[in-house]
């Protein structure tokens, strides 16, 4: 059993070492340190998973590392404890495992970048915060990790900050996250006020003894969901994720696909006992998830930047995960999180390989026929596309299928199970379609690549292709473990009720059909008859523009919120400058003047000191003896 604090400290140590001493050792050492530390953490997580597995007693199936009491004021005690149970095991393995592969990939991808060292410092820091988030027992400590990953996300999105656009994207991500975090903080506050503790283990036992009132639980869950929506890019706080593609592609893979954006789902799964108390909140979660799934999928149809397609795809898939946890199928939500981590990371890394090979080209319309030049990338991306579309027997099929079944059978608030399942199915069709579109536009057909870029076209080095292959294999076979997966998480979430075979089969066939239809249609549109999409776009005219321009959501926010806030800011600034600043400066000035005056009492003459001394003594004597000697 590996003590938990070492799990999270390894990447932090690597980050600090690279920060202080990285100047003196070369890129090889920096990379080795960075990748090695994450690998060590991965081994530690594996070891812990094994340790949990072999113990049958419930008490030993949880590893606890009590570090210290951070804040103890009155009755509120906040401890820095780390807890590893089955759920956090899964998350840790994903973070460190996929994280390690992405670190490895980054060595090749960022090899010629001047900010190599800085990149790995940020990346390690991110892994540290993410692990802290996942392993924390106390919600406040989780929040530290939450904020920390937001910070690293900001740093990495705006990594090439010389270009204002990138810096703005980072800023946007941070600000939108902040709005969500506000909800999270309020939710934590309400939890603290009602239950008196922020520790998840204590909350669980407290709620088991005496459930929180439904209304309060709803409030808490909705507030926390606001935080999750910010972090995991759901409606209405998803707008930062597409912009976040300004960062290096491995960053998009790790942070904006596999780990950070899943923090919201994880948080809800961790606090499932709270969501169980509030059907309304769960229903809202499911509804928002479903709505986001289809909304983002629609936008993804018309995007031409390869990374933006994947970004909207991520938003959409996250919607699936929220749909799952919203209907109570926590196990399947986490399962989809896992499979999504595999194939989405794969897709992003593959896209990165394409971009790398094309010397920076990201526009799908300027690609084509790459399958001959980038064979490994093509095969692995094919695997990823099939997985995300939900074609059996790859992983995505199993996870998506189980979610749709669970949704169909559930009876949530807001929208009924049938509606949710239907929306999910429609989104699955769109997913298959736009992913197929991506694959076809990039790898099939005649080459539309610019001449200079075509000249340098090359497959990526082994440091980039090996992770792709590993992830492709995982995407292919992970689905077969879905029974083991639900068994593994059963101690936390209970066993799912057995599903009626006929509904299960119907949904399964429907999802397969939809996946194949989507892929087939995309092949038709983009390989066989390339002219069709253009004609449809022209025919739809304004509607197409609407979708391609992301439904003008950003512009709407800008008008509604940003401009309003801006003008409030201008007014406040005027008031601040002329009223408040005057007051504050006057106070400060008068204090300084007071200090100046008093300082003259300090004359430097010892006799005067003695006089003051005597005055003090006399005063004290009088005060103590009450006047009468």
């Amino acid at each position: 059993m590996v003590v938990l604090r070492f799990l999270i400290l390894a990447p932090l140590a690597a980050a600090l070492l690279n920060l202080f001493f990285g100047r003196w050792w070369g890129k090889k050492t920096t990379a080795a340190l960075a990748c090695g530390s994450v690998f060590l953490s991965f081994c530690g997580a594996l070891r812990n998973a094994y340790a949990i597995q072999i113990h049958s007693l419930p008490a030993q199936r949880v590893i606890v590392d009590e570090i210290f009491t951070w804040i103890a004021v009155g009755r509120t005690v906040i401890r820095m404890d780390l807890v590893q149970d089955n759920l956090t095991c899964v998350m840790c393995l994903i973070i460190t495992g996929v994280g390690f592969l992405i670190h490895l990939y980054s060595v090749g991808y960022m090899a010629h970048d001047g900010g190599f060292r800085r990149y790995f410092i940020y990346l390690n820091l991110f892994v540290f915060f993410m692990l802290l988030l996942v392993l924390a027992d106390n919600l406040l400590v989780l929040f530290i990790g939450w904020e920390g990953v937001g910070l690293c996300s900001y740093l990495l999105i705006g990594f090439w900050h010389a270009d204002m656009k990138n810096a703005s994207a980072g800023k946007k991500a941070f600000v939108v996250n902040r709005i969500g975090d506000f909800g999270f903080l309020l939710g934590m506050l309400v939890i603290l006020l009602t239950a008196g503790t922020l520790s998840v283990t204590e909350l669980k036992s407290a709620v088991a003894l005496q459930p929180i009132a439904s209304g309060t639980a709803t409030l808490i869950c909705l507030l926390l969901f606001l935080g999750a929506a910010g972090k995991s890019a759901q409606i209405p706080l998803y707008t930062w994720l597409p912009d976040a593609m300004a960062g290096p592609t491995p960053v998009s893979a790790l942070i904006h696909a596999a780990t950070m954006v899943t923090a919201g789902v994880y948080m809800i799964a961790r606090l499932h006992f709270l969501y169980a108390l509030s059907p309304l909140a769960s229903g809202v979660v499911a509804a928002v998830g479903a709505a986001t799934a289809i909304f983002a999928a629609v936008i993804g149809l018309a995007q031409n930047d390869i990374k933006k397609v994947l970004a909207y795809s991520t938003v959409s898939q996250l919607g699936y995960m929220f749909l799952a946890v919203g209907v109570g199928a926590y196990t399947w939500g986490i399962f989809h999180l896992t499979t999504h981590a595999f194939f989405k990371a794969l897709l992003f890394l593959g896209a990165g390989s394409v971009i790398h090979g094309l010397s920076g080209e990201q526009n799908l319309q300027k690609m084509g026929g790459l399958r001959k030049h980038l064979p490994v990338t093509f095969v692995t991306m094919l695997a990823g596309t099939l997985a995300i579309a939900g074609v059996p027997p790859l992983a995505g099929f199993f996870s998506k299928d189980e979610i749709l079944v669970a949704a169909r059978l559930a009876e949530p608030a807001v929208w009924s199970g049938r509606v949710l399942s239907g929306i999910g199915l429609a989104a699955a069709f769109l997913t298959a379609f736009y992913m197929g579109r991506l694959l076809c536009l990039a790898f099939f057909g005649s080459s539309r690549v610019e001449k200079e870029k075509a000249a340098h076209l090359h497959e990526s080095p082994w440091t980039m292709t090996v992770p792709l292959m590993i992830l492709a294999i995982l995407s292919a076979i992970a689905g077969f473990g879905h029974h083991h997966f639900s068994e593994w998480l059963a101690p936390l979430f209970g066993h799912a009720a057995p599903t009626p075979a006929d509904i299960h089969d119907r949904v399964m066939w429907a999802s397969v059909a939809v996946a194949l239809a989507g892929l087939g249609l995309s092949a038709l549109f983009y390989i066989r008859s390339p002219g069709i999409p253009a004609r449809i776009a022209a025919g739809l005219g304004g509607l197409y523009r609407l979708v391609a321009d992301k439904f003008y959501v950003d512009e709407l926010y800008d008008r509604m919120a940003v401009k309003a806030v801006y003008w409030t800011g201008v007014l406040s600034h005027a008031f601040d400058k002329h009223v408040i600043d005057r007051l504050v400066n006057w106070t400060g000035g008068s204090l300084r003047a007071g200090g100046f005056v008093i300082s003259f009492l300090q004359t430097g003459n010892v006799g005067h000191y003695a006089i003051w001394f005597l005055a003090g003594v006399s005063a004290l004597l009088v005060l103590f003896t009450g006047g009468a000697p």
């Binding site: 004359t603 006799g607 003695a610 005597l614």
Partner: protein, 104 residues
């Protein structure tokens, strides 16, 4: 001719007067050596009162105390005079009023 008994209160009164004189010397006189003398006067006034109390309470520890205080006072004075000499060597004055570069 009878002498009235000299009791504790007389000693204390004397001690208080001496102490006050010592304090005034420290405050009012400008010559550093005289100020030292004033401090010594204060310490010895305290010694006097301790001895008086000790006699009154018939407790030996007061006398012991006074001896120790005198020792400490002597050490203090030695150090003080050394500091005075160092000061004189740099500033060529032992007037307390002139030694006030550090102020405000």
């Amino acid at each position: 001719m009878t002498f009235f008994p000299v009791g504790l209160s007389h000693y204390l009164c004397l001690s208080g007067v001496l102490f006050t004189i010592g304090v005034l010397v420290v405050i009012l006189r400008r010559n550093l050596i005289v100020i030292f003398m004033g401090i010594e006067l204060m310490l010895n006034a305290a010694n006097l009162s301790i001895v008086a109390f000790s006699r009154h309470l018939e407790d030996m520890s007061g006398h012991v105390f006074v001896l120790l205080i005198m020792t400490v006072a002597a050490a203090e004075v030695a150090v003080g005079l050394a500091i005075l000499i160092a000061l004189f060597r740099t500033r060529r004055t032992i007037n307390a009023d002139e030694v006030s570069y550090l102020r405000w």
